[in-house]
């Protein structure tokens, strides 16, 4: 991997699954370029928007949604999960590797989880390298 490589990660998250205050430290990171897209509900995740993130040069895309059964709109996070899985299979099909896209259920109390997920993603990216379609 190039020494100056700074991974670009697009992070879609439902505002109900995430405490903005706890999340802020992530914004000032130097090891990763984060593009945060806040959603009023994770049901707004659409296949096309996830793909567009990759087209815009993201090396990985993270989706963070509410825990199962706790969606304010009942089905929003289930929809998000299904769509994310569909796009993962699409990514595999076009050779971009579905591991670049992941979805996680976040609970508001678990303040360490975002950092942990980003670390895991960085580890995956270490393995996969930059987005080959840039």
């Amino acid at each position: 991997m190039e020494p100056n490589y700074k991974p670009k990660i697009a992070l879609f998250h439902c505002i109900n699954s995430f405490n903005e205050g706890l999340f802020l430290p992530l914004n000032g990171r130097v090891d990763v370029a984060l593009n945060v897209i806040r959603l009023a509900c994770s049901s707004m995740i659409k296949d096309i928007v996830l793909l567009k993130a990759f087209e815009a040069g993201a090396d990985a895309v993270l989706v963070m949604v509410c825990p199962e059964g706790q969606c304010r709109y009942v089905e929003g996070n289930i929809r998000a999960k299904k769509r994310t899985q569909w796009v993962k299979s699409l990514l595999d099909e076009i050779g971009l590797d579905g591991r670049r896209l992941s979805i996680s259920h976040m609970s508001l109390q678990d303040t360490d989880a975002p950092e942990q997920i980003i670390q895991e993603t960085l580890a995956v990216l270490n393995d996969l390298g930059p987005n080959p379609a840039v």
Partner: protein, 470 residues
């Protein structure tokens, strides 16, 4: 009758996707977007089609929040898949005074030049702090014909920067004996100045100066902002000069219709020199809106000054105070002090700081101002989001640091002011007032929450309810 004041508004679309307020979300899966009653096809604003087009063309992933919140899709979808949501980014826009809603509407006005309409009624509280605890009384029965205010009826919105001579003295033959200096009249009761600590560059200055020329108003300009590119707009500029060094700026003084000096105890001493250089020049003194504001005004009103410009902070609060009063109370204070001292009618008062909406202009005038000076709305017209990233040395989300097209920028301000002017005459029309100068200090046409509360609830609840907003 003078030629009617007309503002040439023309649609000037934004360069960037504005941060909208609402979107609809489809929270259920039960839709393929092509049923018989599909509300996506019926949306009269074409939001869903626009969304598809946007998804195809966007660079970075983003969502369109430009729903007009009519609820038609929510109500009529046979599968009930929709809900309306507020943009999470919209919630973080602006602050307590420069509210998201205010910014969004300013963008709309700069885009279209039209009066913003709230759609499904006003959904907010009826009273809040600041200007929102003051209501204009538009119940005047003898209002002029409504179709007339934009048509045949003429409502003047002019105000003056030059001082008035009272009383006039006449000779035996009834010819005028008083020396009357030129009258500097501005057709709309507002002036411009650049906001402090936000992005200002040549293209922004030229846009604002050109808009001032188109509107017939003037822009107060600080020495550090002045460049030779602004020379063609000299007629519409009010240079802000240091009082102790006016001899360094002789040419500027001779070419200007008005100048502004910062307040100092002996500022009045320079007036004679200024008038010697340019007898017709209007002199504005810039005074901080603090505890001393009114007394300084009274003192200066006895001199040869034309206009006093009081500046509050960015949120319209009193300066240097532990418990700052809001600008509307401060205007009352200064205005009434001058009235008591019988000097109010001789000079003009203009106020700046926190003037964010057309109604703030009208309300300031009702409180006793002759006009206002606007700053932040000029940048908001250029899509500024008041995110203040520039103050931390970060990049501007709407790329103002790269400059703007002055033609576009100027049109955006003209549009914004066109909308403000329409709102002002709308308010005055409904009050039956035909002259902005008649509106000055006309508190009878306003209702104040604190007064009403005290009057109505005070007798019942006593002191508990006389505390005002809290």
């Amino acid at each position: 009758m003078p030629k009617k004041y007309h503002i040439p508004v023309k649609t000037a679309p934004p360069r960037f996707l504005p941060i909208g307020r609402y979107a609809t979300i489809e929270f259920r899966e039960d839709c393929a977007g092509s049923c018989r009653e599909c509300v996506k096809k019926k949306c009269i604003y074409g939001i869903f089609t626009e969304n598809y087009e946007h998804f195809s063309t966007m660079d970075e992933p983003e969502y369109l929040y430009n729903c007009q919140s009519c609820f038609r899709c929510v109500q009529e979808c046979t599968r009930g898949i929709f809900s309306r949501v507020i943009n999470p980014d919209y919630r973080t826009l602006g602050d307590d005074h420069w509210r998201a809603d205010t910014i969004r509407r300013l963008w709309y006005q700069a885009h279209t030049g039209k009066i913003p309409v709230s759609g499904a009624g006003y959904g907010g509280p009826f009273v809040a702090a600041g200007f929102d605890s003051m209501w204009t009384d538009m119940s005047e029965i003898v209002r002029p014909t409504r179709d007339g205010i934009h048509g045949r009826e003429y409502i003047s919105t002019s105000f003056e920067i030059s001082r008035r001579i009272t009383p006039l003295i006449f000779n035996q033959d009834l010819s005028l004996a008083s020396q009357v200096s030129p009258i500097l009249e501005i057709p709309i009761p507002l002036l411009f100045q650049m906001p402090r600590d936000l992005i200002v560059n040549d293209t922004i200055l030229i846009s604002a100066a050109n808009a001032a020329r188109v509107l017939g108003t003037m822009m107060i300009i600080r020495p550090e902002e002045y460049t030779d590119d602004l020379l063609p707009f000299a007629d519409n500029l009010i240079p802000c000069l240091p009082a102790d060094r006016i001899n360094d700026h002789v040419e500027v003084i001779q070419n200007s219709r008005a100048v502004e000096l910062s307040f100092s105890d002996n500022v009045a001493d320079t007036f004679v020199d200024l008038r010697a250089l340019n007898p017709g020049i209007a002199i504005i003194v810039r005074i901080p809106l603090d505890a001393m504001a009114a007394s300084r005004g009274v003192q200066l009103a006895k001199t040869d000054v034309d206009t006093l410009h009081y500046y509050a902070d960015e949120h319209g609060n009193e300066l240097n105070a532990e418990e700052p009063r809001f600008i509307k109370e401060m205007i009352r204070d200064v205005h009434l002090k001058l009235v008591e001292n019988l000097t109010r009618q001789k000079i003009n008062l203009i106020f700046s700081g926190g003037i964010a909406m057309a109604e703030h202009m009208a309300k300031s005038i009702i409180c006793g101002a002759d006009g206002v000076v606007i700053d932040n709305p000029i940048l908001i017209a250029f899509e500024c989001r008041l995110c203040f990233r520039c103050r931390q040395g970060l990049s501007c989300p709407v790329k103002l640091e790269d400059g703007i097209d002055p033609k576009w920028g100027s049109q955006r301000i003209v549009n914004l002011m066109g909308a403000w002017h329409s709102q002002l005459i709308e308010v005055m029309g409904a009050m039956g007032i035909r002259e902005a100068r008649r509106l000055r200090g006309e508190v009878g046409r306003s209702m104040w929450f604190d007064d009403l509360e005290m009057e109505n609830f005070g007798p019942i609840f006593g002191q508990r309810k006389v505390s005002g907003l809290g």
